[in-house]
Subunit: 280 residues, 2 copies
């Protein structure tokens, strides 16, 4: 490890990560948060918001491929997709790989994240140039309240649920999302880790069960997110999500039909987790 | 995070972990390595060897349960078990939960690790008092060369394969292990992570395939081991390992029949990984 080190300050984790830094590409402050782009010899460029690493170029596929492709392959015909957050563009990039998708609306509260990503993270932000992409600079919590039976898939790609992203895990929000989805729509959100955020995962799952008839949870291992065993919570109006229902034609690094199935926890452990019988 | 911080120095990972420290319980130096036991408010006690965290009390089950119970449940009648390394006692504790086990030999090169664990890590070292446990203070690489068709299961629970643990990943060593196993014996070793040590995982798998007719790989997520998506490499003389062949009677935090199956990677991804077609 070299001498110049970035020390992460994640208020939501019991560990701090230190990464070697070879370059500081950007440092600024938006109305919402501090934004930094640093370069690490091992991870490539990293986007840092309020001191917490949001993505690195090397391993971001472990998050974005899982977040986007599991719901989009579990849905028989996803045409109209809403992404809340995700200003870096990584989730949008994956969503737009689906030929079925006619319109992908990205609602990002912080327009400066998008501008920074367009400039410094070209492999992430590539989707912003797609004519099917619509960018809205607004609060996703408010935006979703204006729609009824509009979207096939809604994806929350937010920062940690502290501060302004906290409302995106409330039962109220899930009810707005339910209303904004078509009759066979589905919802997915990143919901932190099993190891370091178990109570949070459980709470979100329990709230989703009050709103959606089908609720599930899947995971992938994201090395730069403290807790690592990252969870994605699903609420679905009609379709189960454990099996892909369309052939996988998208080009990916790790996502596949078998990895889709494998991402879901075995049913017994999943139930223990939601019921609080799995204790740390 | 409090003001007193332990900064890990893992020569084998592109990240450094910082943990809050509430107490320093032990600091010493054996002929082989520096040994520390520290206490963290979130993780409980942690054993540190040469600056690298080997275990914490809170999450050690994610490693020890997987390392021990997968091979022991895939074997129809494990009576005679050899553990190489594992001086903290965690693997021994799990092995001795099996009623079939008549003898568990633990060969640890560094006797001081065992003494420190007995004193400071009672929940780990509990197995050392079991009459079925035999402790040998010797180099495991040499020890295993003296046996032929002796053991049902051989487990390598070593430090990172740098320094004196490196010989435990050589083809020579795997041939000695093969000879020391009974005709239906099986071998498992911790073999680092998919994300940060992919080349290492691949190399070990390829070497095992030169020696054993059945080779496999399974994983669990260990938060204190940098790379997190931890791998366990298996070489088996006769029995496949993906299915438990005996009912799970041992008391565990997470291991179960379904978690046994789920620990194995889907076959397509596993083959891509070993063949070098999964690239980071």
């Amino acid at each position: 490890m070299r001498d110049i080190v970035f020390i992460e300050r994640d208020p939501y984790a019991p560990v701090r990560h230190c990464y070697a830094v070879s370059k500081i590409l950007y440092q600024g402050k938006s109305p919402y948060q501090e934004i930094q782009v640093i370069e690490s010899p091992e991870f490539g460029r990293m986007l840092v918001l309020d001191g917490v690493v949001q993505l690195d170029e090397k391993y971001e596929f472990m998050y974005h491929e899982y977040l986007a492709h599991v719901p989009l392959h579990a849905h028989p015909n996803p045409e109209n997709v809403l992404i809340i957050g995700g200003g870096d563009g990584g989730t949008l990039r994956e969503v737009l790989k689906h030929e079925t998708v006619k319109r992908a609306v990205l609602v990002e509260i912080d327009r400066e994240v998008i501008e920074v990503s367009k400039k410094y993270l070209p492999t992430l932000s590539v989707g912003f140039n797609d004519p099917r992409a619509i960018v809205v600079n607004e609060d996703g919590y408010k935006y979703v309240q204006d729609y009824e039976k509009e979207f096939d898939v809604i994806i929350v790609d937010s920062t940690d649920p502290v501060g302004f992203a906290q409302v995106l895990t409330t039962e109220d929000f899930f009810r707005f999302v339910f209303r904004a989805l078509k009759d066979d729509g589905m919802f997915v959100a990143q919901t932190e880790s099993i190891h370091y955020h178990l109570e949070m995962v459980r709470t979100v799952q329990q709230r989703l069960r009050k709103v959606f008839p089908i609720v599930d949870l899947y995971t992938s291992v994201v090395p730069i997110y403290a807790g690592y065993w990252w969870t994605y919570s699903v609420g679905s109006k009609k379709h189960p999500v454990r099996e892909p229902v369309r052939p996988v034609k998208v080009k990916t690094k790790i996502y596949s039909e078998e990895m889709h199935r494998h991402a879901f926890l075995p049913p017994g452990f999943y139930e223990k987790l939601v019921k609080g019988e799995f204790k740390l």
